[in-house]
């Protein structure tokens, strides 16, 4: 009897101990998870003293000053950087971080990089442990960037723009291609204050098989009239005019056509939920255009327009079953290993003008980098963001075809990418931005209402009037939440 008691007590102690151990274990984690290559990077810093720059130096300092400050003792600090691993891969980030550490002695960068970055960093963020710099675009399903924006938890980057790029003598603002800083995709509240630093950009437009056009002797349409005519011709040969990966891609498509239909001011009014704007004549043109395009859409598109099967829709282009597909410049990379029709050749064009005689247009999508307001090491975080625009960093990114909006970077492109990025040089208007950030409105999701409904339009479950009314209703509710 007694021995039974003793054993039970021992078991309980073991259980309690393991419980406590389980709870306490997390404290050690951050220290352990420091990337091993950081030490290597730190060692190299000593070998390159001429590039050294004390962490504390003010933005105005330029390289000439560095020599005098070199003697100052280097303060050890850690910068936590979290970056989304997109189609460009993870290696470029490790390389950039190593280069940053090399040029900033004493700074150790803890790099978190993941395809599902939100899942990795948000638990710690909820507990108050924020990364110092985050590279994560808007428009993702977990919407971490949007959530922090809506909660006003981001640091304004205005002073970063006036900083000198580390190791160079120009300011960040001067290096960024004009136009990229006046959009709702960098100034989410529409008040002229920049909160997101524009990173890798990609023109969005219509992809097609240029080989098919050559083979059939067709002309690439430049107006919607020619587009519909081509659609009818192709239909006789059993080829559909249009397909789309998922309705999520209609954001870029709609933005571009809205801007084409009513100009940039009209586009901005749409993005800031102006009263009645979605029921205006110009908006109606866009709704009807998409609905007409729906009738030319390949029959199985809707069934495959989900996260599991969207590549089947993209495959339609490669198989010559559909002609056009809206997408971004990452598409050829995404479909690199897919089988394709003989003589296939990527073609890329802007979306034809909505009004007769107008210019074609292409939405320019870009990823964003931001600093949480709760970041601990804000000065170094700003330094890191500024460093992103240095020639050194841009070169590393460009190697992986991640192109930043820095003047002159796209000149270094080759092959297909040269064609894609030259779209604006060929007369297409660049459209940038996105819906303005508002306080969250429960149950109202603008992109879902605007883009998700396209599936119902194509399948005939909803009419254009219903769609338009729903978008206007969502716009009304969001306007009320805008401050």
């Amino acid at each position: 009897m007694k021995s039974k008691k003793v054993i039970s007590l021992l078991l309980i102690t073991a259980m309690s101990a393991s419980l406590l151990a389980g709870c306490g274990g997390s404290d050690n984690k951050p220290a352990d998870s420091t990337p091993a290559d950081n030490t290597a990077a730190n060692n190299t810093t000593e070998a390159k003293p001429d590039e050294a720059k004390p962490a504390e130096s003010t933005p105005a300092d330029t390289t000439e000053k560095n020599s005098s400050e070199e003697a100052a003792p280097v303060e050890e600090q850690t910068l936590k950087v979290a970056a989304f691993e997109g189609g460009y891969g993870a290696d470029m980030w490790s390389e950039v971080v190593a280069a940053f550490e090399a040029s900033h002695p004493g700074v150790t960068v803890e790099l978190t990089i993941d395809k599902k970055l939100e899942d990795v960093i948000s638990p710690a963020m909820k507990a108050g442990d924020y990364p110092d710099v985050v590279h994560l675009a808007t428009g993702r399903e977990a919407a971490l960037t949007e959530t922090l924006t809506k909660e006003k938890a981001l640091l304004p980057l205005t002073d970063v723009l006036d900083m000198t790029v580390p190791g160079e003598s120009v300011t960040v603002r001067d290096k960024i291609v004009p136009g990229f800083l006046d959009t709702l995709a960098t100034n989410p509240y529409g008040d002229g204050v920049t909160y997101y630093a524009p990173m890798f950009y990609s023109p969005c437009g219509l992809f097609y098989n240029a080989g098919l056009f050559k083979e059939k002797g067709w002309k690439v349409p430049t107006t919607w009239e020619e587009m519909w005519a081509l659609g009818d011709t192709a239909k006789e040969e059993g080829i559909a005019l249009f397909t789309y990966p998922t309705t999520g891609y209609f954001d870029a498509f709609t933005y571009a056509t809205l801007s084409s239909a009513g100009g940039p001011d009209f586009f901005n009014s749409c993005m800031t939920y102006e009263d009645g704007i979605w029921e205006s004549e110009n908006a109606t043109k866009v709704f009807e255009l998409i609905a007409k395009l729906g009738t030319y859409t390949e029959g199985t598109t809707v069934a495959n327009a989900n996260n599991d099967n969207f590549t089947k829709n993209q495959q339609l282009i490669l198989d010559n079953k559909a002609i056009f597909c809206p997408n971004g410049t990452w598409l050829p990379g995404e479909m690199a290993d897919a089988p394709r029709a003989d003589g296939f050749e990527w073609g890329f064009m802007a979306i034809p003008a909505v009004n007769d005689g107008g210019a074609g247009c292409s939405f320019c999508w870009f990823e964003q980098m931001w600093i949480p307001a709760a970041a601990e090491n804000q000065d170094m975080a700003k330094e890191f963001v500024a460093y992103m625009y240095s020639d050194e960093a841009a070169k590393i990114f460009a190697k992986s075809t991640a192109i930043q909006p820095i003047t002159g970077i796209s000149d270094s492109l080759e092959g297909d990418n040269k064609l894609f990025y030259s779209i604006y040089d060929n007369g297409a208007t660049a459209v940038m931005g996105g819906f303005a950030s508002t306080a969250p409105v429960e149950g109202v999701n603008m992109l879902d209402t605007l883009c998700g409904t396209v599936n119902s339009i194509v399948s005939g479950d909803k009419t254009v009037a219903e769609w338009q009314a729903a978008v206007e209703e969502a716009s009304d509710k969001l306007r009320a939440a805008m401050e």
Binding site: S8, L19, T147, A153, V441, G443, N445, T453
Partner: protein, 297 residues
Amino acid sequence: MKKVRGKSIFITLCVAPAVILFVIFMLIPTFNVFKMSLYKWGGYSNTKQFVGLNNFKILMEDTNFFRSFQNTVLLIAIVTIVTMGFSLIFAAILSREKIKGQNFFRIIFYIPNILSVVVISAIFSAIYDPNNGLLNSIIGIFRGSEKTPILWLGDQKLVIYSLVIAMIWQAIGYYMVMYMASMASVPESLYESANLEGAGRIRQFFSITLPLIWTNIRTTLTFFVISSINISFLIVKALTNGGPDGATEVFLSYMYKQAYTNSSYGYGMAIGVVVFLFSFGLSAIINFVTKREPLEF
């Protein structure tokens, strides 16, 4: 006296770890869900705004929520009825009849349960593929392959039933094994005497097997409610992500979209509260309705 006290300390110590774990991992989070549903909060910042029952008021007018409610109820009802029917029949056949390869079938039926939901949804995407899918190819033999393909995941009236099939396929094995376990404990003598009395197989099933495994069936009904809500989220997330245009939105996928994609964490928690109360209430009703005097054997 001293012995009694020592004993109660001993019991307290024994129970404490479980109670602590239960409080930390069950009670506090549940309480927090209820609490958060009264706030307007994005999930991260410290700016929580108390809004009382406002989230629930918005919920009552949210047509998208009602759509997800309908879909969930439809899934629970159809999946429960069909799965229970099939798994009872299969369990009865496999445990009462002498057929070749009994164990083989048992394993085959159970396999879907071991597969992860992502694998299951990949399998079903392949089956439902409009052009080269298994289902359309077989149907094409009868209706001719020239006709426009059936869009199993694209037709808004069909797509929810496509999910139903996947969920049933996934669940049958698990419940079958549970029913088989309790059927094994029904004494053989009852069947023998029933045979002597001249009762047929079907009569035996309804008069002996079913009443004697009734407590087990009641338990599984609660499981059906809970697992339908959970599994439907996983399958929807992997297979359709609520599409096309919200036609397959279920409770939890809508909750996820509101709490994260729409930055309305408090509203998401309000949906969570409704789901909690609904599943609790439904289980209670089912439990009450199916109450019978337990049969002793």
